[in-house]
Symmetry: C2
Subunit: 301 residues, 2 copies
């Protein structure tokens, strides 16, 4: 079924009433940071589409009274990079101290928003929508702050060729690790923007699928607030990744100017305790020693 939840609200309500889903996985957003920054039209489309899609879904859940578990794909990019010094990035909520005339007060707040693109900005707006509808209407919402996805196959898709999903490797939709692997496979230099000192969070596509399953089945401790889970398993400096792949596959590295306003270098330590406690068993790049080579083989076929 094809349904544009950003523009077909009445049909969305009808479908929810008809299907009575126990869980909803909301991926229906424009997903590319580079695309979102290209032109006035792409900026406007990203905001209009993403905010209306998310808000329509929330309003429809309130209107239908459905008690479905909602999982939404957010991004690690809402936190910003290097904002909290050497402190690890927490799972959505940050404990801070305020000074008051009656002494210090401790408060847990949604981590301050530090988006690096219009796309990332929409995910910080989504958070506030979730926060309001969880508190005001008791909707059960999990926001998955995902790292950069790599890999092409899940256990399900590898069963049959016809199940293989699209593979994006372009400058708009391709993610960095997949792009490096593809560049190496076709003999193109690996393109690093800036110094490559940017550290980012990663997750294998197989773990992404498992995380979503956990998010919609694991009971929530406190449904009056949106649950935030960091959907990532490891962090790497982009240059380290590029070097690893260049070494393994015999490729060159080309340094390009960085089009983003971001720090040249940053450390990144991220908490993902909740997913680990809920049974996630990560597929890491480092553990999967030969993955780059195997990937090459699969790309070259």
């Amino acid at each position: 079924m094809s349904l544009d939840i950003a523009t077909e609200y009445d049909r969305l309500v009808e479908v929810l009433r008809d299907k009575q889903p126990d869980a909803i996985v909301h991926f229906a957003e424009q997903r590319a940071a580079p695309y979102s920054m290209r032109t006035s039209a792409t900026k406007r489309y990203t905001v209009d589409n993403n905010i209306r899609a998310t808000h329509n879904l929330l309003v429809a859940l309130v209107e239908t009274g459905l008690d479905a578990a909602l999982a939404h794909l957010g991004t690690m990019g809402v936190y910003g990079y290097g904002w909290s010094g050497s402190a690890p990035i927490p799972e959505g909520y940050l404990t801070v101290k305020l000074t008051t005339p009656d002494g210090e007060l401790e408060r847990e707040i949604l981590h301050p928003a530090n988006p690096g693109s219009v796309y990332h900005m929409t995910k910080t707006l989504d958070q506030l929508l979730f926060s309001f509808y969880a508190k005001n209407d008791g909707l059960r919402i999990t926001d998955l702050h995902q790292g950069i996805v790599w890999g092409t196959q899940t256990d399900q898709t590898s069963r049959d060729e016809r199940l293989i999903n699209r593979f994006d490797y372009d400058g708009d939709y391709g993610t960095v690790l997949n792009r490096f692997l593809l560049q190496a496979a076709i003999g193109h230099p690996l393109t690093v923007h800036g110094t490559g000192g940017q550290t980012r969070a990663f997750i294998h596509i197989r773990d992404t699928v498992r995380c979503i399953e956990i998010a919609i089945t694991a009971p929530m401790e406190d449904p009056s607030r949106v649950r935030v889970l960091n959907q990532m398993t490891e962090t790497h400096r982009l240059l380290d990744l590029a070097k690893m792949i260049a070494d393994a596959m015999g490729a060159e590295i080309a340094y390009l100017p960085n089009p983003r306003r971001e720090a040249e270098e940053n450390d990144l330590i991220v908490r993902n305790d909740q997913f680990l406690a809920l049974g996630l068993n990560p597929t890491t790049l480092s553990a999967d020693f030969n993955s780059a080579t195997r990937a090459r083989a699969s790309f070259s076929q």
Copy 2:
């Protein structure tokens, strides 16, 4: 000229190119909290209209390269009530301490969002839009976190009857103090929702106009972030206001159930140092001793 900035983006760009304004006052949003909570349609309209209007304007400013001072009408309601204990509500930014492995870190953050309605929520989304476009594109933006407006006339409108603006006193668009005054004038009990222990911030409409003038003319210290000014001059408990007006005008008070999910009682101390430093000379209810009676006379005419 009539122009829907939420839906007529191309015309908006044309108008900006044509007029080359030095300043833009952005009031083009659905403004009622009760309306925003009424039905699915009003929730959706409030979000769609307000976010698109604000975002279109920001994108149009970037596209045209206009260096105009933008002032937007926000609300005191973004802060929530009673969230920071006895600490005064700061002007947009809150200083907090984070614990890190290398000791405590001090950070200034946008005050955490605690909206009480869909309408208020849109103002918290606006803040994130402003924050991004100030940082990323250097737009000069002032967000005015306004209290509840009272009074009907400014120095300008009182010059001629034809200049008098609309006066809202209904349950959707009427603000509490004006509503009390009108209820008293027509012999209706003053309707207080809940205990009346809610403390709110107020400003006279004459000061509102002056604040906007200041916001678009006073240079910004740091244009890389949105300037937030608390556009209010005094705080009152709603019950105290009701009693004052009931005493002065001989009216009754009727207690009704509170339809909002909010604390029954709250204290409220608000900083407005910036406006005072920039020359605002408040018209306060307390100083203006006979205002209730004079207002009655003007309402009865």
